[in-house]
Amino acid sequence: MDSAKPAHPSPRQYVTIAGILVVLTALEVSLFYLNIGGINTPALIVLMLLKFTLVVAFYMHLRYESGFLRRLFAAGLAVASVLYFIVLATFYSRG
């Protein structure tokens, strides 16, 4: 491992992150049953993105990787999201 890079999280921090992930998952499942109307889906998507970011940043160590890898991942994610959003929008707009 490159000693110049910032240290990875400690085991205690990994467990804390896991606790946050479990709480977020519990919130997601609660939202499914509570079904709070129009903001239910956006809230679920926000929780999903939070969990996604936590795993990628801390468990996959992207937060501690070089800027090149971070940009590579962000660019790929952005291109894929735009591509599939266009596909879905096209099909839904045609009924």
Partner: protein
Amino acid sequence: MTAHTETSTGIDTRKLGMWAFLSSEALFFGALITNYLLFKGRDLQGIHPRELLNIPFTSVSSFVLLMSSLTMVLAHAALTRDNQRAARGWLLATAALGATFVGGQVYEFSNFYKEGMTLSTNPASSSFFVLTGFHGAHVTIGVLLLLSLVGLSFRRGGLTFEHGLNLELVGLYWHFVDIVWIVIFTVVYLIR
């Protein structure tokens, strides 16, 4: 393989290759998720996945997979401290949690078949089985990779970061499988 080559970016070639592979996998799963969203709620013939999904059961499966990501990083942390024995234990725990998740998926699929929802019932069921089935196949491959690492761990220095099939690369793959499930769980199971 013990060669340790860095690219002009200063990034290990194997790690860069793994991230490039995971990016292609993101596009692959993105296509399958889009496919499911296109057919969800269309062609109302037969039973649809929405009618049969067991949210409590799948929530437990999601918890199991999340915990497997924790045990995976604890294996990585143990190896960073040169504690190969502890790393082996955490790897075994990760493999066991992964196998539990796959077992749950097999149980879920067999229930769906009993209820009459098969791969060919309607486009929604096809896209559901293809998406979740491919994810399950990825988890299964991950379990095999983890067990390979456990086998390597019995050799002195078998788990060092210099080896071709190393714990960090398998960890990246495993966490990727987890983030794909985070998306599937929300998009397929929770969003109505």
